[in-house]
């Protein structure tokens, strides 16, 4: 029971610090899951992120996968609800009065201030995952092709990841 509570609290803290979306929280998520708690190995963490991309819905659904690997279905619910519920409660209460504040000068100032932070956080998330997940030339090629397919062909991320998995399966090692 204490482990489930720990999982919930760790992911709640991460959810409440996820400014500008999910990718920015990846360095901290990796620190907690891999280094501080030793729940997953570095390679498993990258795989968890990638498999999370296959699911329909937000990127941070990966937390359900991570939680499952740590403590089965209860762990999965603790991690996923920890990530989504506390920020959701904040949004729920803020939504009721947001119409009055959304165009105030300070609300707009906060938005302008946070936008470049969000991009910096995302870049840090990409960098952190790349350090753990790209170890050879084949990895570089997969990443480059995937990026180009998304940017130029606007392919769906889940399709790209799935196709990469199938190609990986067929390639000799």
């Amino acid at each position: 029971m204490t482990e489930i509570l720990t999982i919930f609290l760790v992911f709640s803290r991460l959810g409440l610090m996820a400014f500008g979306g999910a990718v920015g929280v990846l360095p901290e998520l990796q620190r907690e899951v891999v280094l501080n708690h030793g729940w997953l190995s570095e390679a498993e963490f990258v795989q968890a992120y990638a498999l999370g991309q296959l699911a329909p819905g937000p990127n941070m659904l990966m937390t359900f996968f991570v939680g499952y690997r740590v403590a089965g279905v209860p762990g999965s619910l603790a991690a996923g609800l920890g990530m989504f519920l506390p920020p959701g409660i904040l949004v729920y209460f803020a939504a009721r009065s947001w119409q009055r504040f959304s165009q105030t000068p300070w609300a707009l100032a906060c938005q302008r201030g946070l936008t470049p932070i969000a991009v910096g956080l995302m870049a840090a998330g990409v960098f952190t995952l790349a350090l753990s997940g790209i170890n050879d030339i084949r990895g570089v090629v997969f990443a480059l092709v995937a990026a180009v397919l998304l940017l130029a062909r606007r392919m769906n991320p889940a399709q790209i990841v799935l196709v990469a998995g199938v190609i990986g399966l067929l390639l000799p090692t």
């Binding site: 400014f19 992120y49 995952l129 990841v161 998995g165």
Partner: protein
């Protein structure tokens, strides 16, 4: 997000585009996964508390179920050499995907002052120096918001 907007504004006509974007702005201002937050916001606007709860459940439920199933497959099959080979490829592909998403949103910083220094310092602190996220935010956010305080919009 474009798909979300199309569904809510054009297909269902639940909100107009300005109201939708107002919700997007709130979800970016507050912490948490953006799509989950937006589901709560839209649910609240359309049907109060019940709407929020249903919105969140609907957006995470199917994917969560899928990942729990995938987790159990992973637990039994992770030693299988074919599965291993597939896993070696999906990681880099997913990294390519988020690299592309980051490149796509980056031009959005143009309307902020000191945008490039703020983004670079944030990246260096969190990504390179591995400063914990809460410290990174406490160091960068006050400066960024003050630099973009009312009256400074470009």
């Amino acid at each position: 997000m474009a798909h979300y907007l199309h569904l809510v504004v054009e297909r269902r006509r639940w909100l107009d585009e300005a109201q939708f974007l107002e919700g997007v702005a709130l979800c970016q201002l507050l912490p948490g996964p953006n799509m989950g937050n937006l589901a709560v916001y839209l649910g609240q606007r359309l049907a109060g508390l019940a709407g929020s709860i249903l919105g969140l459940l609907a957006i995470i439920g199917p994917g969560a179920l899928f990942l729990i199933l995938l987790g159990s497959v992973y637990s039994t099959a992770s030693e299988n050499p074919f599965f291993q080979r597939a896993l070696l490829a999906v990681g880099p592909a997913a990294i390519g995907v988020i690299t592309a998403s980051t490149i796509r949103v980056a031009p959005g910083i143009r309307s902020s002052r000191a945008a490039i220094p703020i983004a670079v310092v944030t990246f260096m602190l969190l990504g390179v120096a591995r400063v914990p996220l809460h410290w990174t935010l406490l160091i960068v956010a006050p400066f960024a918001i003050w630099t973009n305080r009312p009256g400074t919009a470009q």
